[in-house]
């Protein structure tokens, strides 16, 4: 007999995976680069959660530390040094 809890767990897992793919697509689609940076932050956040679900806490902490703040900071610096909008 298949436990109904397994179904719920898989549903949550699939929803998070869909979120990762959706936010990654948003990064590509947005022409406003600050919006793209925001979507990238959301993507790295969900990737960190996915690593936690896959029982890799070390990688999750590294992803959280680097992906959440430092990557966002570097992208913000880069956007500030150039133009905000992508023009093509």
């Amino acid at each position: 007999m298949v436990e109904w809890t397994i179904f719920l767990f898989d549903a949550a897992h699939i929803l998070i995976l869909v979120g990762i793919v959706a936010s990654a697509l948003m990064v590509v689609k947005f022409k406003d680069l600050i919006s793209a940076a925001i979507a990238l932050a959301a993507c790295s956040l969900l990737v960190s959660l996915e690593f936690l679900i896959l029982q890799a806490p070390d990688v999750a902490i590294a992803e959280a530390a680097v992906g959440a703040l430092l990557t966002t900071a570097i992208f913000i610096f880069a956007i500030r040094g150039s133009r905000r909008r992508e023009e093509y």
Binding site: I16, I34, A42, L49, L52, P57
Partner: protein
């Protein structure tokens, strides 16, 4: 079929995952950049809660450390984006 605290936590996890998808929809739609940051902030809070719930569900208690790391660092990301947006003019409407 058993129903215990673990199953209760699992129901909560599923509901919160649906909440993340709804908040990501606002991240996609939101006309201006501040709207998107609000959606990101919501996702941050929900994910911190989810991480604590997952730690309790897996009974791997050291997973809670990640939640604290994320709660502190997502604040920093919000600060950086807000710091940028303070100085720039919002056009809005087009993404």
């Amino acid at each position: 079929m058993t129903f215990g605290p673990t199953e209760l936590l699992l129901i909560g996890i599923a509901v919160l995952s649906a909440g993340i998808i709804l908040a990501l929809l606002r991240l996609f739609l939101g006309p201006t950049a501040p709207d998107r940051v609000v959606a990101l902030d919501t996702v941050n809070t929900i994910v911190v809660g989810l991480m604590v719930a997952f730690a309790a569900y897996f009974q791997e208690v050291v997973f809670v450390d990640i939640a604290v790391v994320y709660a502190l660092l997502s604040f920093g990301a919000t600060m950086f984006i807000a710091r940028y947006m303070e100085r720039s003019k919002e056009t809005g409407g087009v993404n």
